[in-house]
């Protein structure tokens, strides 16, 4: 575990400083500004209901993980650092999981900042008193709006699950790409498959079911608390993640990387 954290620490330094020291933070601030401030202030009702922030908690990590995971191995290969890294005592799995931990941890943290920024925007930039029926903290006129529990579940574990999904797919792409540009181009395919699959594929699949099944499924979902629905969805994602990560860890071997 210690080796994984060492690799992840180095990766995080590279990710955050990717634009060159403080300039690297501009990209993160821009992301937080658009998703955490602009969107909530322009779509107050949608954000108060919790549906949009929950969906963002699952989607934003995909956009954050994609470019960095593409760079993870292809970038090291292109910049001539991969072989030196492989020539250290680090076990194969520490390198593999260290890189995944870094990109997922980064996406998770930025997503949290977006959720927190959106809360600040809603509470201080919009009139939220008595709206949304959401749980509140405090009392009287100084009530502070906070999201319902399922949003926090979506962020807390959902963002990790979706980040892991793209990271595990992305490492396959990055391991096989000779250049960063090639990896970025190739990453567009899984990114679109995951996003379009989630947005249109699942609803389409649902509509293809017999009406009676659709009805029973809808009743089941409506009878469950929103938190449970999110937990079931995230649990399913984690199962897929585990399969992909296991496969990736088996395929990640020094001699294969060098001889390729």
């Amino acid at each position: 575990m210690r080796d994984i954290i060492v690799v992840a620490g180095k990766e995080l330094r590279e990710i955050v400083g990717a634009g060159g020291g403080r300039k690297g933070l501009v990209r993160e601030l821009l992301f937080i500004g658009i998703f955490g401030l602009l969107f909530p202030l322009t779509q107050v009702e949608a954000w108060l209901s919790g549906g949009v922030p929950a969906a963002f908690a699952l989607m934003v990590p995909l956009f954050l993980v994609g470019p960095h995971v593409a760079d993870s191995f292809a970038g090291e290969r292109e910049r001539g650092t991969l072989e030196t890294l492989l020539a250290t005592r680090l076990p194969d799995r520490s390198i593999y999981f260290g890189k995944i931990l870094a990109v997922c941890g980064y996406a998770w943290a930025v997503t949290l900042l977006i959720i927190l920024a959106s809360l600040l925007a809603l509470n201080f930039g919009a009139d939220v008193s008595g709206r949304g029926g959401s749980p509140t903290a405090g009392s009287g006129e100084s009530e502070f709006f906070v999201y319902p529990a399922f949003v926090w579940v979506a962020w807390g574990v959902g963002s990790i699950a979706s980040g892991l999904l793209l990271a595990s797919i992305g490492t396959f792409v990055s391991l096989r790409s000779k250049t960063v540009r090639g990896a970025h181009q190739a990453m567009m395919i899984p990114l679109f498959v995951v996003i379009l699959g989630g947005s249109f594929g699942i609803p389409a699949l649902f509509r293809s079911l017999p009406p009676s099944t659709q009805e029973r499924f809808t009743e089941l979902l409506e009878s469950m608390p929103a938190v449970s629905v999110v937990l079931w969805a995230v649990g399913g994602l984690f199962v897929i993640d585990l399969v992909l990560l296991g496969l990736g860890a088996r395929l990640f071997r020094r001699d294969r990387l060098i001889s390729d």
């Binding site: 060492v6 400083g17 001539g80 072989e83 250290t88 020094r254 060098i258």
Partner: protein, 324 residues
């Protein structure tokens, strides 16, 4: 004599192409070993095999007493490397680069800080410790990469062209550092270089490979001894007929005129030069200078490669022992 690196019939093939063909090497502990060969000779493949980054197709290799197939991680713990690329993270600072590799080597916090400071001061980069490596010159990067290789005090160093990109004082300093590491601390240095003068100056033993095959191996002076002596004559009045007469003597096995007009006579083993000078003087040649020159390592290297190109492989150990 203990061996830091020992290979027997080490081979590696890639999709039907043989990159390394039955390599036999014996590198004594605490020595500086020069691994020479033209581009594509198999030097990098050899280093990758010795580091356990590639699996041998056949043969065996033992590094620091450990088998490369079964104990490659333990080998990598004890070696320092500088490969053909400096391997530095350009987005990180000099200190962050060394700190990462020190953590990988599991140095304690105190040890890390002290070692990083000492090394950065030694290579005159302490004042620039917090600058991104991307801002460094090639020479500065090379020095930093060398510091990274020495960071955890390895007992074996694999250095691929370590003086490439260094200015003359830095290259001289590094060569002296390598010699002192080997002599005083018993560190074994396995270096590849195209700078044959460098190999001649610092290496205890050298090996020459081409197309994955070992052509010669031994101390540089013994390898050079495999090349022929020559007589360089600066004179006036040399006629083709005289050259033909000289060629007919048992002492001379070849003759040529170099770009400066000097007559170069390749001498047979143990040949005396006095009869040749006498012959020239007797035929009216005015000799102003005559000197016996030994083939340099570079000339020997070129001769070995040339012999191999012409299908006359001369795999031999210049120390008198044939590699097993």
């Amino acid at each position: 004599m203990t061996l830091a690196v020992h290979t027997e019939g080490l081979s590696r093939r890639f999709d039907g192409v043989t990159a390394l063909d039955g390599l036999n090497l014996a590198v004594p502990t605490g020595s500086i070993f020069g691994f020479l060969g033209p581009n594509g000779a198999g030097k990098t493949t050899t280093i990758r095999l010795l580091l356990g980054l590639l699996e041998p197709s056949s043969g065996n290799a033992v590094v620091l007493g450990r088998d490369v197939r079964r104990e490659s991680q333990a080998i990598r713990e004890q070696v320092g490397v500088l490969l053909d690329s400096d391997g530095l993270y350009e987005r990180l600072t000099a200190r962050q680069n060394l700190d990462f590799f020190a953590r990988v080597a599991r140095l304690s916090k105190g040890e890390r800080d002290a070692r990083i400071r000492a090394l950065l001061e030694e290579i005159d980069l302490w004042d620039r410790r917090d600058d991104p490596v991307a801002d460094f010159s090639r020479g500065m990067k090379q020095k930093l990469a060398l510091a990274r290789a020495f960071l955890h005090r390895p007992s074996l160093l694999f250095l691929d062209e370590p003086t490439a990109g260094l200015d003359t004082p830095a290259a001289v300093g590094l060569r002296s550092e390598l010699v002192s590491l080997a002599r005083e601390e018993g560190v074994t240095v396995f270096l590849t270089t195209h700078n044959l003068l460098e190999a001649e100056r610092v290496c205890d033993r050298v090996a020459v490979i081409r197309q994955g095959k070992l052509l010669a191996e031994g101390p540089p002076e013994a390898i050079r001894g495999g090349g022929k002596r020559k007589l360089e004559v600066t004179a006036t009045g040399i006629r083709p007929a005289l050259v033909a007469r000289l060629m007919n003597t048992p002492e001379v096995i070849g003759a040529d005129v170099d770009s400066e007009g000097r007559l170069i006579l390749a001498l047979a083993d143990g040949a005396e030069t006095a009869p040749l000078i006498r012959l020239m003087v007797e035929t009216g040649v005015e000799v102003s200078e005559a000197r016996i020159a030994e083939a340099s390592l570079e000339e020997t290297f070129l001769a070995l490669v040339d012999e191999d190109l012409n299908g006359r492989s001369r795999v031999e150990s210049a120390s008198g022992e044939h590699p097993r």
